[in-house]
């Protein structure tokens, strides 16, 4: 039986932004559709409307010509629309089966039979009776998919499903999705990754700033044409010149271990590496493998043994972040809104968070507001932050501008080493390009970078050396030219 899903003139307005502007789209089963767009283009809003999480201001949704009123996620489920979100909605401490039975109306035995037959059919192998926290990200995703399949969905929506997967898990996922499609399930695949669209999908709809820009068949498109549609301008490609090989060692980590009391954190085991001046060391890995802990150990949020970290011939393992800054280190954490900046505070107050003795932000314990403001204005103009009002609360900056402010704040003191963690996460292409250019510039000035990132393309573009972190252990350090994304993928999955 054919499934036809039609979105007709959907509009959703948030204060200060039109998330969906009169969007109309039609999908038919048998094909895999890509919904492509940058962060903030409106694709998440659109799928949330389809799954009943958000109610549109205007517009209708039709499934097989029936007008659907989706007022809650339950309505979507009842109408055979299944959705797998980017972030898993699973109870970590419950078993797989317990997670599946929670929102099912079936009896235990019949449900178990059903799950077994689904797993057999699609070649999934998951132990139903172990707690979810023991599963890999790929397996957790399969649990979410099974949860949808139990209800025999007509439509399956996948929101950025590969952001937590390895290359291998990704190709497994694609195989399953193709199989679902052959069986008549309508698949809508949301992503901003162009390569995946080309690999997987039959048709692609591109969104930009809340509007539907184009609908076309994949065979008429290529990566460049899609990228230009997505961004709306012709992108220049950034290439890093190969760094002069320097043997001047800047930072050296020796036998660093960290054992956490928190069961949801990762222990770091026997970390050893060094970075020379002018070099960028990339650390790849799937999120949750110890990146956050490694960042905190390097920044001084977690204090380690004094001798574990040697920076510029000083042993600094026992210093806190502020003290490390005095040795010319700078840090840009992953979480812009909860750690690197305080959204409710003004721009200039956020600048004062990077307090350097020589910057004289605070004299004799008093706030020197003029000095901070002067400094903030310089950052805003030097780093292209798109505002001229330093009294603005930083929550009103876009992600890209906030990240520019943070990087600017960290770099204006011209540190010898910048440690950054997912610096372009969730940013639009323009801002990503700007940040990448800035990072390359730092290396050209003979300063060093440690780049912890889950974005393999970014790492391959910017790093001179690359290592992979898996379950708190670092792989051996490789020269970036010898590395391919496939090789990284294998290491990220834990194989040698």
């Amino acid at each position: 039986m054919n499934t036809n899903l039609k979105i007709s003139n959907v509009t959703k307005i948030y204060p200060g932004c039109v998330a969906n502007d009169n969007v109309s789209l039609e999908f038919n089963s048998g094909k895999i559709y890509a919904l492509l767009g940058e962060n903030g283009a409106g694709k998440s809003t659109l799928v949330k409307i389809l799954s009943g999480v958000i109610i549109p201001d205007e517009g209708e949704i039709y499934l097989n010509k029936n007008n659907l009123k989706l007022n809650s996620p339950l309505d979507a489920k009842k109408n055979d629309i299944g959705m797998v979100f980017q972030h898993f909605n699973l109870f970590e401490t419950l078993s797989v089966f317990e997670n599946l039975i929670i929102d099912s109306d079936e009896q235990r035995e019949s449900l178990r039979e059903k799950i077994d037959s689904i797993m057999k059919k699609y070649n999934f192998s998951i132990d139903l009776d172990i707690p979810v926290l023991n599963l890999s990200a790929g397996q957790k995703q399969k649990v979410e998919i099974i949860r949808c399949l139990i209800r025999n969905p007509k439509v399956l929506i996948m929101d950025e499903p590969t952001s937590v997967l390895t290359e291998q898990e990704t190709s497994e996922l694609f195989l399953s999705l193709k199989k679902f499609s052959e069986e008549g399930i309508l698949i809508i695949y949301i992503t901003h990754k162009l390569k995946e669209v080309m690999q997987l999908c039959d048709e692609v709809a591109v969104m930009r700033r809340g509007k539907l820009v184009s609908v076309s068949e994949i065979k008429n498109e290529n990566i460049e044409s899609l990228a230009n549609k997505m961004v709306g301008q012709n992108l220049k490609t950034i290439k890093k010149k190969k760094a002069k090989t320097s043997s001047d060692q800047l930072i050296k980590i020796t036998n660093l271990n960290f054992t956490s009391e928190d069961p949801f954190e990762t222990n770091l085991m026997d970390i050893n590496f060094s970075v020379n001046r002018g070099e960028c060391l990339g650390i790849a890995g799937i999120s949750g493998n110890g990146q956050s802990e490694l960042f905190q150990v390097l920044s001084g949020e977690i204090i380690s043994d004094k001798n574990c970290i040697e920076f510029n011939n000083n042993y600094i393992g026992d210093l806190n972040p502020q003290e490390r800054r005095e040795y010319l280190m700078a840090f840009s954490p992953e979480d812009r809104l909860e750690q690197a900046a305080i959204p409710q505070m003004k721009i200039f107050e956020n600048v004062a968070l990077n307090n350097f003795k020589s910057s004289n932000f605070f004299n004799n314990g008093l706030i020197n507001e003029n000095k901070i403001k002067e400094h903030s204005k310089k950052i805003i103009s030097d780093f292209n932050v798109n505002t001229d009002n330093i009294e603005l609360k930083s929550q009103f900056l876009s992600g890209g501008n906030l990240q520019k402010l943070i990087i600017g704040r960290e770099l204006i003191t011209s540190p010898d080493l910048l440690i950054c963690f997912n610096p372009t996460w969730g940013l639009d292409v323009g801002a990503i390009n700007y940040i990448h250019e800035t990072l390359i510039k730092i290396n050209e000035q003979n300063k060093s970078i440690i780049l912890i990132s889950t974005d393999t393309d970014e790492l391959l573009k910017l790093s001179d050396k690359i290592s992979v972190i898996h379950k708190g252990k670092l792989s051996k350090i490789m020269n970036a030219e010898e590395v391919t994304s496939e090789k990284l993928g294998i290491l990220m999955g834990g194989a040698n």
Partner: protein, 354 residues
Amino acid sequence: MIKIVKRDQPSRAIFFFTPVLAIFLTLVAGGLIFFILGFKPFEALKFFFIVPIADKYGFSELLLKATPLCLIAIGLSFCFKSNNWNIGAEGQLTFGAIVSGGVALLFYEQEGFYILPIVILAGAIGGMLYASIPAILKTYFNTNEILVSLMLVYVSKLILDYLVVGPWSNPEGFNFPETRQFSDSAKLPLLFEGLRIHAGIFLALAAVVISWFVFYKTYLGFQMKVSGFSLKTAKYAGYKGKKMIILVFLISGACAGLAGVGEITGPIGQLHREISPDYGFTAIIVAFLGRLHPVGIIFASLVVAITYLGAETAQIFMQIPKYTGQVFQGMILFFLLASDYLLFFKFKFIGSKK
């Protein structure tokens, strides 16, 4: 048709308007309650809010009640602004009073200019010691400061009870549950002949000025502000988050302790069973009604102080229980929280569609 719309950002004007609205709604609801009880609403409200402060004596009483409220609320504002929920100011007040009262009793037959400062200091230290218990348990053992600080209130009241009935009770006091009178050197001087308002008000005013300065002008205040918004950010900036938590508790304990000193070394001049009509709890309402801002807290403490006085006048002239005062305090908090809805939402009047 009226539609409720989310605001793009909380409105600053509304931020200061909602406390006024809350007070207005409290008056309306209070009038209604009096009406149901069979009183004339306007007359009753007049007895409650105007008669008590109509003369010089009444005004002095108002300041007398507002002083501890203001002092405690200023201290609490440090805690609340940094997301530390110290609700045990009543206990810190009591313990501060116990320590300073104990010191005052040591000097009971002596005179000297040095006694009063020592007594005041002892009260502040007592309050700090008592506040340090929930602070240290919170930072090093992850206990919940709300529970710990609240439960310690009852502990301190029982300690006070034991002391005034037992070891510290006045040997010539015919077994009344009270201590000896402190010597005049251990008492805060009264400001005017015949009125009860005493020098404690200067402690409160000093606290207002100092807290404003610390919070808005110093590096320490900046660190507290950051730690309050996000401990993760504080850690990343290199601030000592745990020390910051202990510090705000100590400040608020010291303020509550000083309020306790004012209660026992003012007009009363001795320790007895009931030194505070729940000032420590009421000050929580004052702190929020004053928007945790030093100047706002001054006004809020005056408004809430009236409910204490009004309850007494109402009891005398209208024969209704003085607990009506607590009803009014509860209503203020209730309407304040309710009208805070306007901070984030607004009403939009729209004509019928098309």
